[in-house]
């Protein structure tokens, strides 16, 4: 039992990584005043570009850099189209999701002659603290993971510092809450919106690669709704990084538990796949209920 318990916790810590990275990316755009529904497509772009470049160059580092660059490029175009052409960010975001699904499938077919799973034989991502994993209780839970997990924590902290402790972050947040103040300062709010979209692209690129690199494969729809779950985590975490991380952990725990339950309780796989959606919906509803109760007081 205790080994199962620690396995569930350990998988939850690993599983929260893409959610947390995507949610932190989404937080930048959210605070700059726009709902970024393209997280899903940006994750897919990063997952694909990263793993394919790593395979072609036989270098994970080049893969990661390419994944970041490709996703930043898509995000940049998404940003300039949205801002420069005054398009609705909801529609352009939808277009990014459709575009990413299309481009990854077309490129897969073109270069690997398949639209389904692209399996590569890359080495597993490094596990920097693997030696400490032997520690009792906390060892496997905290130290056995790939570097993506620790990078996600660092970037969550960095995101918090940038957004809430720096002048840049204050201006970025003002873009969402009080753009006129920025204009008075002589700053252009649109610059901050554009930058927030590119930053969200970089976070999402890592989120996507944290899925494809450990698998050493790209699977169509690899993000599997995580971009949307990340949006709910931002909302439930009331736009505070620590609370967002907590929400991501709860979602990941539910997923990790259901994966475990599938093995032992023989639950149909469709319900396992539905569990992230169910838990996220329930969390969304209970968050709204709690908010309503506290409003009444």
């Amino acid at each position: 039992m205790s080994s199962a318990f620690s396995a569930i916790l350990s998988n939850a810590v690993a599983g929260m990584t893409p959610l947390l990275l995507a949610a932190m990316g989404g937080l930048f755009t959210e605070l700059a005043g726009s709902l970024n529904i393209a997280l899903e497509g940006l994750m897919m772009t990063g997952a694909f570009a990263g793993i394919v470049a790593a395979h072609l160059s036989s270098s994970p580092a080049i893969g990661v850099l390419t994944g970041l660059a490709a996703t930043a490029l898509v995000a940049w175009v998404y940003g300039i189209i949205t801002i420069g052409l005054k398009a609705n960010i909801f529609i352009t975001g939808l277009a990014v999701n459709i575009f990413a699904a299309g481009l990854t499938a077309v490129l897969s077919q073109q270069f690997f002659k398949t639209k389904s799973v692209l399996a590569f034989s890359l080495a597993e991502p490094a596990r920097p603290f693997a030696r400490l994993a032997a520690l009792p209780i906390v060892g496997p839970m905290l130290f056995g993971h790939t570097w993506f997990v620790y990078l996600a924590w660092i970037l969550t902290f960095a995101g918090w510092v940038i957004l809430f402790k720096s002048t840049y972050g204050m201006r970025l947040r003002a873009t969402g809450s009080n753009p006129k103040a920025l204009i008075i300062l002589g700053k252009n709010p649109e610059t901050y919106v554009a930058q927030s979209i590119v930053i969200s692209g970089l976070y999402c690129a890592l989120a996507g690669m944290s899925l494809s690199f450990p698998l050493s494969a790209f699977v169509p729809n690899i993000s599997a709704g995580r971009g949307w779950v990340a949006l709910v985590a931002i909302y439930l975490g009331a736009k505070k990084p620590a609370a967002i991380a907590a929400a991501c952990f709860v979602f990941a725990l539910a997923e990790s538990y259901s994966n475990f339950a599938q093995g032992s309780l023989k639950i149909p796989s469709e319900f396992i796949l539905a569990i992230p959606y169910i838990v996220t919906l329930l969390a969304l509803i209970s968050g709204a209920l709690a908010r309503r109760l506290s409003d009444r007081k």
Partner: protein, 355 residues
């Protein structure tokens, strides 16, 4: 700023449509040039075969049918500022409900159709309505809730089709078929085009009438334009939130039922995937105007037919259509303001030059 919203005149709108069409055709040519093994063959297959080949042309028209009906569902939701992103699940569940209702033992084809389409609409309405209720009572964002409910629905329907409702005599993951005599009449064999086309056109025209000529439509549009004003005007939250979500869900469910009676006759696993997202795009292209849904749906179906056609023999993934569609989506909405301005500026320069 008024040009931003609805104030753009038809001529500017027309120019933007021409511009979007031109750019999307150019983009298609570039993509075919980059990916197809034989460029001329691919171009013929993409642009010409869907229009000249009877089978492809009929299927093109058939593919536009669910896009029109579900697109109307999106138009009702979007024009009242309700974001229904649950179309995928609503269509899929509607289709399954239609199959189940059709197989309850009736013998009169018309009665079977009506019962099944009613069941399909009801399940869609319930799914959409939940998001409406959550929004009105708890202020839960309907964009997120409808998407999440749709995810749950899709996996549940997947489970039902692969498990308890599976037709074990088939090698495929599918339910049993509806009674053969209850299907819509084919009107353009060998294609899948059926009398459902007339139902779709009727639905779109009725939608236009409701939106422009009835109190309900008027209230929806006011709520969409300015929710606060709508409240002062005495339009309740139910009318501006729940009703559009229910209507939107019902139309999505209905389109799922239509898919069964017109084209598929049984619910196969994942058979309707993507239609909900396409319907959103179609409605955005039509700027939520029901009559605009007709050309928008045909255009979208044309792109899909072209990409399916080019896949045969050209060794190119049919997902090429997604890239083109995303460009169309951006162009048709993004070019509204700046392009109109560009064009009118240029015309002014011309006039000034003539002087």
């Amino acid at each position: 700023m008024s040009i931003d919203k609805q104030g753009m005149n038809t001529r500017e709108g027309f120019k933007i449509i021409i511009f979007t069409l031109t750019v999307s055709v150019l983009l298609t040519l570039v993509l075919l040039g980059a990916f197809a093994s034989s460029f001329p063959d691919a171009v013929t297959a993409f642009f010409v075969r869907p229009l000249t080949n009877r089978y492809f042309f009929g299927n093109l028209l058939a593919a536009a049918i669910p896009l029109m009906i579900a697109g109307l569902g999106i138009a009702f939701a979007f024009s009242s500022s309700n974001f229904n992103l649950g179309g995928e699940g609503q269509i899929y569940a509607g289709a399954l409900a239609a199959v189940l209702a059709a197989r309850t033992g009736g013998t009169n084809p018309l009665a079977i159709q009506m019962l099944a389409l009613l069941a399909a609409s009801i399940i869609g309405a319930v799914l959409g309505g939940i998001s409406g209720l959550l929004k009105r009572n708890l202020r839960v964002d309907e964009l997120l809730s409808s998407f999440l409910i749709s995810g749950i629905t899709v996996y549940s329907v997947d489970f039902l089709i692969a498990g308890p409702l599976r037709d074990t005599s088939s090698n495929f993951m599918t339910t049993a078929a509806i009674p053969a005599n209850s299907a819509f009449l084919k009107i353009y064999p060998p294609s899948n085009l059926s009398t459902a086309l007339f139902l779709a056109l009727a639905a779109v025209i009725t939608g236009k009438f409701i939106m422009d000529r009835t109190r309900i439509g008027f209230e929806l549009k006011i709520a969409g334009a300015n929710r606060e004003f709508a409240q002062y005007a005495g339009i309740g939250a139910s009318a501006s939130t729940i009703l559009p979500m229910v209507l939107s869900g019902a139309l999505h469910g209905f389109s799922g039922g239509i898919l069964i009676f017109g084209t598929y006759f049984k619910a196969m696993r994942g058979f309707s995937a993507g239609i909900g997202w396409s319907a959103i795009a179609v409605s955005l292209i039509a700027k939520n105007n029901p009559l605009g849904l007709i050309p928008a749906a045909f255009f979208y179906a044309y792109l899909e037919a072209g990409s399916k056609s080019v896949m045969l023999g050209a060794n190119i993934s049919s997902e090429i259509v997604l890239i083109i569609q995303s460009a169309v989506l951006i162009l048709i909405t993004a070019t509204r303001v700046p392009l109109a301005r560009l064009v009118s500026n240029r015309n002014q320069h011309k006039k000034e030059g003539k002087r």
